[in-house]
């Protein structure tokens, strides 16, 4: 079983956390800190296994991690998982491809930390196709990518009306004119609306 999947950057800032066992929020943060502390002090050329931290798991648990550029991907697993298998799952592969990160790669067209930062929800959706309830659901990358894409397509087809204005607005906001839109008082519109509605 996988107990938790944590992704954080070189400074320990969480980018995605997924616990398959309940921990209160503050404990979750402690675990992230502890894990970061354990993982970050290790050289890049040492092994990727770590006997678990004190907060999460126990003697049966291991931390298996990989470090990519600015991100750490950490899986906390027990002895029923194959160490190399999980490593493969994080990156190298079982059949031919990098399952998890590679999947991110495919879905975001070259993943970088910023993608994870701004699309945490999307990363979650991908992860849900790989691991479910602490157990590995699918290791075939094509299958994973296929399912994720189908779901995204579905979301797009639903998106229609509600998504368009939001996109327009975020374009406006990107222009970095923070004051202008905020000052418009929508309350006024609200008052006018009822008078129009009779016809």
């Amino acid at each position: 079983m996988i107990k938790a999947i944590l992704i954080f950057n070189n400074h320990g800032k969480p980018r995605l956390i997924r616990f398959y066992q309940y921990f209160a929020e503050d404990l979750q943060q402690q675990i992230i800190r502890e894990t970061f502390h354990l993982v970050s002090k290790r050289d890049d050329n040492v092994c990727n296994f770590l006997e678990g931290g004190s907060l999460i798991g126990g003697s049966d648990y291991k931390l298996i991690y990989r470090h990519y550029a600015t991100l750490y991907f950490v899986f906390c697993v027990d002895s029923s998982e194959s160490e190399l298998g999980i490593l493969d799952l994080i990156q190298v592969n079982i059949i031919q491809t990098h399952v998890f990160v590679e999947t991110l790669d495919k879905c975001f067209e070259n993943v970088c930390e910023l993608d994870l930062i701004f699309h945490m929800d999307k990363v979650h959706y991908i992860l849900q196709e790989v691991v479910m309830g602490g157990m590995v659901l699918e290791t075939n990358m094509n299958e994973i990518v296929g399912q994720v894409e189908l779901q995204n397509r579905m979301e797009k087809s639903e998106g229609g009306l509600s998504a368009a204005p939001a996109r327009a607005v975020s374009a406006v906001k990107n222009m970095n004119l923070p004051e202008i839109p905020r000052n418009i008082n929508i309350g006024d519109i609200n008052i006018k609306v009822p008078s129009l509605s009779p016809f």
């Binding site: 309940y22 194959s82 160490e83 190399l84 298998g85 959706y125 849900q128 939001a166 519109i189």
Partner: protein, 1239 residues
């Protein structure tokens, strides 16, 4: 309205979306918390809006904030709202948020049950998928119970995407609701052979998780897994299976033997390191499980060790790590083969990677021998000096102690050396393992009598040197050593050269800064020393020395009398009074020594740590009973009992910080300098020792330590362990020389006999004699100690609840709760909470009867065995056959006939005992194969497979014959009688049936009837309705290969009628056949199911169909076909549904039902058989039975009620029937009549 929508989207324009939130947080680095709190306020506003899109957006943002550590449980209700949105986009957001923050304590979770159920049955597979994924994270016992049935249905969903998720989530359901395991297991097992690899993988995953915790319950699946292992190409699945075998082999050594070969092949063939590694691991597990006396497996060990060596030598640190990890497993059973790689392992000790060093340390444990122990420990001591982090250093320390103390100090030849090693270890600052060293010191000193003199001298030096007293006590766990030192000095004080000096050392004022429990030992042992000193000086001419001692005690003890620690205080006051009294006596010149030492007379023997636990409780003694009235709550809280010998657990008292101000420090420093100057053993600080000391870890963080720079590294006056190394070397050399001489003499006497002896070679273990005769006292155990039962399992382990025997036939009460709305319509006695007395009565009765029935069926089984009656049982396919959950549960319930346990067990035995030749394995493997009942029911494994095989073949033939016979007799469905027992599904019925005529067992029944047969293949089939879908029935067909050839590419096709159609996959034309998802090796049978949709169910009908297949023999393959006619009887549209008697009465009163009747003449069978037959063949259940009259009920897939009143008198049976559909009723009655006309 339109405007409202427009307004909504205008509103939305100004809401932040997730990206804006993230950007905002990144732009407000300096006041992040403030920014986020304003964001949360905004989110709260958004959540108040009606627009679901706004809400979803808000929830999405909350999910992000949750990651940053913000509690979002206050929004739980809004999350549920978003979850229930009809749009996938929002639903997904809702479920994601829920999976991140819901848990068992979340109260709104109970509101989600119906929403989740709705989503699970959604036509959109992604809605279902999202719900399953979410549920997997927050499933609670309640949800598990309510939804288990729905999820089980999804396990047979048409989409593999849903199937695999449903299979996987079952594990979570089992954990939360263990009762579901047995009803669901057959279907889970069936998924192991799902055509979709993803589903298969999920099923393997779940069963592996289950089996890992309770392996013995899954042994019977070994053949199936074996088949998967040899056929699967998915490495992930292979790894899981191989890991599972690793857990199973310890329980069944024969399994191991079978595995060795394929695993070895995999090791040779695979290129995937992960798979190779797991194979090696499991081979190791196999080798461990096999007894060591297996010479032919040494090759496998060699192979494993070789492969592991390759891993360890690899430059990839991960492989190195895993190689060492696996090596340590071999070590336990085959230390010799690992020892040859000592060089490699010692090399790993110097690795820069701490994880690898730790693993190498584990291995060292098995590397040591009498010969190299000192050498290895010396190396470790060097590492201790170099070690940077305290964790690694502490690990080294424990390993040194482990290595030395293993198997009762087996490898230690010189205990003086060991004691000095322990003493050297005391110089470790800040270690957590002071108590470990202390307990070793105590253990050695107590158990090795010969060493006491030396040990006492060393301990006295430790007490004297005071280097352990320095530093700050709080951080210094090492001061625990003083506990041991003081005790040893006191207890064995007769060995002390100068007890007076030690006594003085023990009463120094600085001692008062030690933790309480150590002080207490000091005080107590000071008294022992006092007794020794008195004894020494008694009789001597000057009594002055003795009096001085008393004076010393009287002066120093008051310090301890003032101690805040109660125990110290008490002991000190006691002893102080005693000494005062003695002093008085001394002044009167009374001889007291004798009596004082009598206080401490007698030797303490070592007692095994578990001794107390093993004392059997005397009869009639209740340890839990109160001796006196229990004290009030508050009192018991206040007085926590204090451990007297508290060395094992960390002391709270140690945490008491003693404030030391600058002045005090300066004063102490002065005092220490003074002391050092006066101390004859003190070696004036040498530069080298200072240097090493500065290198000690963490020095710069401990200000006090810097003051103590002058404290020597070497414990003053200690003999160093290196010395011993040299001495030992010399001693051994000398011994060897002696021996050689003796040998030579011997040889001469032998007149230059046989081959030359290799003198140059290393001496064997036995040759090394211990330096001094060591008498290791064994620990005492109480008389009649109880047998060991050490491995207590954690009672809170959720997996404990899943330790369920899965082979046992399902009992009536075991079923998954069915959806509530159905429960309301048809109350079943088990589920109805508010019943009146009658039902409860019935319930009670039924449970009693069930027990009785169990007993009886066992008897029956026994009888069968005795007679060696080769009664042929067609083993029910373990899987429920239909798509429909209620029905399937019931068939699952009754699927396993009483003999199945033994049959299955002997199956496994058979499989295990047979040689690994493919055909017989496969035969036994196929789970749905009709297997003869346990051949002669012998518990022992047949010695050779041959006769066994023959037997089963014979049985098979016999079975076929019998089946044919049956068929001739009645061209109706038959079923096995056990199926019939439970066919009613309702315990009331079962009870009634078995109530009276106890002696007569029901004849075997089977519902499977012949579909078609030719020289190659035989098909039998059964039809079951699908309760979930009123327009579907499921046809289960068992294909049996009768030929000697391989049958493949089977295609099943039916000519659809207007009313009934075969369900084909999407996109297939109505004339396409369905591919049967398996191939049949010779003699094997397997089952496939086909779903038909029907419109009208009031008439029976027949469908023509064809089966095409390829017969592949050794040299040729031919196309063959077989025509058949599928007969859909009206009975097959009925579903056994339990009905409750007052609901039944209401139904009859309602007057909507048309009636009809039937008379059967000359029927000579017991009434309960009659009822059982109706129940079984026609899917009825007994509502009530009074003497020779019974009311029965059934329901069609389209919801028609069918009620029967069956009466019997003088071989005449009259059946009055009522149904809301007259033609259905007429047909059913016809079919009933036909059934009985065949009897």
């Amino acid at each position: 309205m339109a405007l409202k929508i427009v307004k909504g989207s205008i509103d939305r324009m100004f809401d932040k979306n997730l990206q804006d939130l993230v950007r905002g947080i990144r732009n407000h680095k300096e006041d992040e918390a403030k920014y986020i709190s304003t964001c949360i306020d905004e989110i709260k506003q958004e959540l108040k809006q009606d627009n679901i899109a706004v809400k979803a957006n808000a929830v999405c943002k909350l999910t992000y904030l949750q990651m940053l550590g913000y509690d979002i449980s206050w929004a739980a209700f809004n999350i549920v709202e978003v979850m229930s949105s009809s749009k996938f986009t929002y639903k997904r957001i809702g479920y994601l948020a829920a999976s991140q923050c819901f848990h068992e304590g979340t109260d709104v979770i109970m509101l989600t049950t119906n929403q989740i159920r709705k989503d699970l049955s959604s036509p959109n597979q992604y809605d279902t998928g999202v719900a399953l994924t979410g549920l997997s994270c927050f499933v609670t016992p309640d949800l598990a119970r309510d939804l288990a049935n729905d999820i089980m249905t999804l396990m047979s969903h048409t989409k593999p995407y849903i199937r695999k998720k449903a299979v996987l989530i079952m594990y979570k359901v089992f954990l939360k609701y263990p009762e579901s395991l047995r009803p669901a297991f057959p279907r889970l097992k069936e998924k192991l052979e799902d055509p979709d690899p993803g589903v298969q993988s999920a099923a393997v995953n779940v069963i592996c998780e289950l089996a890992r915790r309770n392996p013995k319950n899954y042994l019977s699946l070994a053949p199936l897994f074996f088949k998967l292992m040899t056929s699967s190409t998915n490495n992930w699945v292979l790894i899981k299976i191989i890991k599972l075998f690793g857990a199973l082999t310890p329980l069944e050594p024969r399994l191991g033997k079978k595995l060795i070969e394929p695993l070895t092949n995999l090791i040779h063939s695979t290129s995937a390191m992960s798979l190779l590694y797991e194979c090696v691991n499991t081979v190791i597990a196999v080798l461990i499980s096999l007894s060591s006396g297996m010479p032919n497996h040494s090759a496998s060990i060699q192979l494993c060790v070789q492969k592991l060596r390759i891993l360890i030598e690899d430059s990839d640190q991960n492989l190195k790590y895993l190689g060492l990890l696996a090596m340590s497993k071999i070590l336990k059973t085959h230390p010799k083969s690992v020892q040859s790689h000592k060089d490699l392992i010692l090399q790993c000790l110097d690795d820069k990677d701490e994880s690898i060093r730790l693993r190498a340390l584990d291995l060292l444990y098995g590397m040591v021998s009498k010969k190299n122990l000192m050498e290895i420990v010396k190396k470790l001591m060097l590492h201790v000096d170099k070690a940077e982090g305290t964790t690694y250093r502490d690990e080294l320390l424990t390993k040194i102690i482990d290595i030395c103390s293993q198997s009762n100090y087996q490898y230690i030849t010189n205990f003086e050396w060991y004691i000095s090693i322990l003493v050297e270890l005391t110089r470790l600052e800040g270690t957590r393992h002071g108590h470990l060293i202390a307990s070793q010191m105590l253990d050695v000193a107590i158990r090795v009598k010969a060493i006491r003199g030396f040990a006492v001298a060393q301990m006295a030096m430790l007490l004297d040197s005071g280097h352990l007293l320095t530093g700050n006590m709080q951080r210094n766990g090492i001061c625990e050593v003083l506990y041991a030192a003081a005790w040893i000095c006191g207890e064995f004080s007769e060995h002390l050269d100068d007890p007076m000096q030690t006594l003085e050392a023990m009463l120094r004022p600085k001692v008062a800064s030690l933790p309480g429990h150590i002080q207490a030992v000091y005080v107590q042992n000071a008294a022992k020393l006092f007794a020794t000193v008195l004894q020494k000086h008694e009789g001597a001419t000057d009594s002055q020395a003795a009096q001085d001692t008393s004076q010393l005690l009287i002066e120093r003890l008051p310090l301890f009398v003032q101690s805040a620690n109660l125990e110290v205080q008490e002991r000190a006051s006691c002893i102080l009074q005693l000494v005062k009294y003695i002093q008085k006596l001394q002044q009167k010149d009374v001889e007291v020594a004798e009596e004082v030492s009598a206080l401490f007379a007698g030797e303490l023997n070592p007692v095994a740590p578990k001794a107390q636990k093993k004392v059997p409780v005397p009869e009639g003694l209740d340890l839990d009973a109160w001796i006196n009235e229990p004290p009030s709550e508050s009192e018991s809280e206040d007085e926590k009992p204090k451990a007297v010998f508290a060395k094992e657990e960390p002391k709270q008292s140690r945490a008491r910080h003693i404030e030391v101000d600058e002045k005090e420090l300066a004063r102490r420093r002065e005092a220490r300098k003074q002391e050092q100057a006066n101390n004859p053993f003190y070696i004036k600080s040498s530069p080298s020792s200072q240097k090493v000391y500065q290198d000690a870890p963490g020095v710069e963080h401990i200000p006090v330590v810097q003051i103590d720079l002058s404290v020597p590294l070497k414990v003053p006056g200690m003999p160093m362990s290196e010395q011993y190394l040299k001495l030992e070397e010399e001693r051994r050399q000398k011994e060897r020389a002696d021996k050689k001489k003796k040998d030579k003499k011997k040889k001469k006497r032998e007149k230059r006999g046989k081959g030359k002896r290799d003198d140059s070679g290393p001496e064997s273990e036995e040759d090394i004699t211990p330096a001094h005769q060591v008498d290791i006292v064994t620990e005492e155990m109480p008389e009649n100690a109880l047998p060991s039962d050490d491995d207590d399992k954690d009672p809170n382990d959720p997996h404990k609840a899943l330790d369920i025997d899965l082979d046992k036939p399902l009992a009536d009460s075991e079923k998954l709760p069915v959806r509530t709305h159905r429960r309301e319509v048809l109350k079943s006695p088990e589920e109805d909470g508010d019943q009146d007395g009658i039902t409860q009565e019935a319930k009670r009765r039924s449970s009693k009867e069930k027990k009785e029935k169990d007993r009886k069926s066992k008897e029956e089984e026994k009888k069968k065995k005795k007679k060696k009656h080769k009664h042929v049982v067609e083993e029910e396919p373990p899987e429920p056959l239909s798509e429909e959950p209620v029905q399937s549960e019931e068939s699952a319930e009754v699927a396993a006939p009483p003999t199945s346990t033994s049959a299955e067990a002997s199956d496994l035995d058979f499989w295990l005992s047979s040689a690994p030749v493919p055909p017989p394995i496969k035969e036994a493997l196929a789970p749905k194969t009709s297997v003869a009942a346990a051949p002669d029911s012998e518990p022992d494994v047949p010695k050779d497979a041959e006769p066994d095989e023959e037997k089963s073949l014979k049985n098979k033939k016999k079975k076929q014959k019998k089946e044919k016979d049956e068929k001739k007799k009645k061209k109706r469905h038959h079923h096995h009688h056990h199926h019939g027992d439970g066919g009613g599904g309702d315990s009331v019925q079962n009870g009634t049936v078995e109530e009276e005529e106890e002696e007569e067992p029901l004849p075997p029944m089977s519902n499977y009837c012949l579909l078609a047969e030719n020289s190659y293949i035989k098909m039998v089939y059964d039809i079951q309705g699908n309760l979930q879908d009123g327009s579907q029935v499921v046809v289960s067909v068992i294909f049996e290969n009768k030929s000697n050839s391989f049958l493949k590419s089977m295609e099943f096709n039916v000519l659809d009628s207007l009313n009934s159609k075969l369900q084909r996959p999407e996109g297939a034309s109505p004339h396409d056949g369905l591919v049967v998802p398996f191939q049949l090796p010779p003699g094997v049978s397997n089952e496939a199911r086909f779903v038909f949709s029907v419109q009208s169910i009031v008439m029976p009908q027949k469908l023509k169909g064809t089966l095409t297949f390829i017969v592949k023999s050794e040299d040729s393959s031919t196309h063959e076909k077989l025509d058949f006619k599928l007969h859909f009887t009206c009975t097959s549209y009925l579903i056994t549904t339990p009905c409750y008697s007052d609901a039944y009465a209401k139904l009859l009163e309602s007057g909507d039902l048309k009636s009809s009747s039937l008379k059967l003449e000359g029927l000579n069978m017991p009434f309960h058989h009659l009822l059982a037959r109706i129940c079984f063949h026609h899917h009825f259940s007994v509502v009530e039975r009074i003497d020779s009259c019974a009311s029965m009920y059934s329901r069609s897939i389209q919801g028609h009620h069918v009620c029967l009143l069956v009466k019997t008198a003088n071989q005449t049976v009259s059946i009055d029937a009522k149904c809301d559909e007259p033609s259905l009723l007429a047909n059913v009655l016809d079919e009933i009549k036909q059934t009985f006309s065949q009897c």
